[in-house]
Symmetry: C2
Subunit: 433 residues, 2 copies
């Protein structure tokens, strides 16, 4: 009998893990370069925390259970709610508080390609600043992370919840309904405009209002801002939203993001807690879609008992990036992390092989020896199957003379080298001299 | 209202996280240097997997719950059981399979200093080899990791389950009882010999047998091996166990572990799945205790439907290491990862400050700008409170002349520098010239 895994989860064997680690490393380095500091919170949170502000859709997706003491807890569904809880309980954190977190979250939804129930998010957030510089710094950091991964052909779609809320207000749609409208609009790419229209009808909107909404969210680019002001000029919310977007566009020059930002009123983002700018980084190639998303959530921290604390952030999806970048990264990675295998010709010299391996390791060279009591031929087969580039052969004679056979496995060549010269030879320094 | 966390969990704010990351980085680098490859498995596992071989004590500690589809799942309590599941379902993995995993596990037990309900383990395992070289390679890798952290005064205690089982056999204690005896003996340091004795009575052992056991496990050092052979010479299990320990001691010389290994028959290890050598790395200072532990589990993978597959491994406890090393590591770390803050004298020049920051970041220098619309004085206060070592002041005049004031915050000195010379100046290269 074989044992399986829960649906929507994955094992990452070393072959795949190396690519993931490459992606994570690049993202982590970029986050740190931009002055974000790492923070970690538990995977399990109290139910009252998880249910405080995720929205009903998210609540349905939470893995929820009782601990042995009878308390309701659950697995976190994002990294933002835990951040808000921490900030609320640590009022003395110096602001702006710039933190990053690359960690797992869990959502019980239908598994599909690039979407798992347990998945890795890479989040940066800036807490304490109400200014668009903070939003832009998050976007520019995320863009730099993607550039460091040599991702190409992406754009940053931006919108502002204030504009969407202003529109709802102008159409006399009450706030509790508009949140449901937003969640429906968020699905437009997934289910299509016709189905969105049907769902909006079910919510209780009439055809005229639905047409107004759908026509409004078709607006894109800088004309969209003029259009919004023209159409709903008297709305304070729309005015603020437009101003914030204009400021973001203005800042895109110093932040070296010129031409990357694109206003798109159809961008909604599904989570309930957004209050201002929302953004999404999308690869133009339709098959790939969104690789990052986020926005401003100025009232979330208050919901957790903190003082009024503006905040904004963006999240990169590692699973999606893996799918997009996997092939290219594999070409960059060396076939094996182990550089040399120290083979023995017989059990008697195994301790010597181990001793030599330890010496190489102390010099920072990833070296292995036989752990299986295998004959020389089988040891070479192992090195070959693991694509280890060099094998050093240790036998009684070699130990006496101090001269060893070094086999270059890829080129099927053999050199005679003194042990002291092994690092020099395999690290290829003789060629760069 | 403030929101809390589940008991036995922790938030790791950046200040603490930097120390943890330092520890994790060193361990990770050592694991990779020794040729271990990273693997990752889900935090959630099916209940049938978790309950297959943990032992009843561990089973009581598992966070267990039903997913929304009604399947029983749970949070993993160690990293070894998931590894065994993966190896069993991937029979084609090249052997020896050397994997590492640094990740969280969950155990519902009484929280205490250095023991949390959600905690981080750093595991290495070698799958496929029945030889003591594999056990010794795990031990030597763990020791190197501890050395890279400059941990001092530790020793590696070793024992062998075959010796303990052989003793039980000789005392006519049946296997199902001996597992309970082992779990009791494992608590000897925690609850004391007297309480162990009482518990063994409850299990049903008579006083004579209890005395025999307690006197036997007092044996330490190389004489212990002679003693075991002398006393239970006819036991095949004891003979094998003694031979394995002798081989480990023999191998300690080539593995550069001479003098570190110490035979200790009182070392049991709580988990049920061990079948051969067990080991523990202990700081001699009694307050600190064990920082790593592991052993051989040759039948675990078969339990998960794999072919007969010997395996061994060791796990380092990050929480414990943090407690021990925290103070010293803090002295090594720089007070701030951010090297320079680019201050502005007024909002008009903020875009220029941002532009200059972006240029420094592109050169790999961690730089920040104001995100709060603060006046210059408050910007300097922020840089000071974050212990950022340098501040560059950007005003209209500086932009015109291209010469900026660079403030060395720690030494309260101010230089005039051209922007191009900033990296050179702050990275201190002028002093090493």
């Amino acid at each position: 009998m074989k044992f399986g895994r829960p649906r929507g989860t994955k094992d990452f064997l070393p072959d795949e893990m190396r690519v993931r680690q490459y992606i994570i490393r690049k993202i982590k380095d970029t986050f740190e370069l931009h002055g974000f500091e790492e923070m970690d919170t538990p995977a399990i949170e109290l139910w009252e925390v998880l249910s405080a502000k995720g929205g009903e859709e998210v609540e349905r997706q939470i893995y929820k259970f009782q601990d042995k003491g009878g308390r309701w807890i659950g697995l976190r569904f994002d990294l933002t709610v835990p951040l808000a809880r921490v900030v609320a309980s640590n009022p003395n954190l110096v602001k702006p508080f710039k933190r990053y977190c690359i960690s797992k979250v869990w959502r019980y939804e239908e598994p599909q390609s690039g979407r798992l129930r347990e998945f890795l998010q890479a989040d940066i957030d800036i807490v304490g600043s109400a200014r668009m510089e903070a939003d832009m710094e998050c976007i520019s950091t995320a863009v730099d992370a993607l550039k460091s991964l040599e991702l190409e052909g992406f754009e940053v779609r931006i919108n502002n919840r204030k504009i969407l809320e202003g529109m709802m207000e102008s159409l006399a749609i009450p706030p509790e309904v508009s949140m449901r409208v937003f969640r429906t609009l968020d699905k437009i790419e997934k289910i299509g405009e016709e189905n969105v229209s049907k769902e909006l009808e079910k919510i209780g909107l009439n055809t005229e209002v639905i047409c107004e909404i759908l026509s409004f969210i078709h607006n894109q680019g800088s004309e969209a801002l003029d259009h919004a002001e023209g159409k709903f000029g008297s709305s304070k919310l729309i005015k603020e939203g437009v101003e914030e977007l204009r400021r973001m566009i203005e800042l895109s020059e110093p932040y070296d993001l010129e031409g990357l930002l694109k206003v798109d009123f159809s961008l909604v983002r599904g989570l309930d807690y957004y209050t201002g700018p929302v953004f999404e980084i999308k690869v133009k190639d339709a098959q790939i879609g969104s690789v990052a998303g986020g926005g401003r959530y100025d009232s979330l921290i208050e919901k957790f008992g903190g003082g009024p604390t503006p905040a904004t952030g963006i999240s990169l999806g590692i699973e999606r990036l893996y799918e997009v970048l996997n092939q290219r990264i594999r070409k960059v990675l060396s076939p094996s992390e182990t550089v040399i295998f120290i083979a023995n010709t017989s059990a008697e010299v195994l301790p010597d092989a181990i001793r030599l391996r330890e010496r190489l390791i102390k010099q920072g060279i990833v070296a292995e020896t036989d752990l299986m009591g295998r004959k020389l031929g089988r040891q070479l087969e192992y090195a070959n199957s693991k694509k280890i580039p060099y094998v050093l052969i240790v036998g009684p004679e070699e130990l006496q003379t101090g001269v060893f056979k070094l086999r270059d496995m890829a080129n099927k060549k053999e050199f005679s080298v003194k042990f002291e010269d092994v690092p020099f030879t395999i690290l290829g320094k003789h060629t760069t001299k």
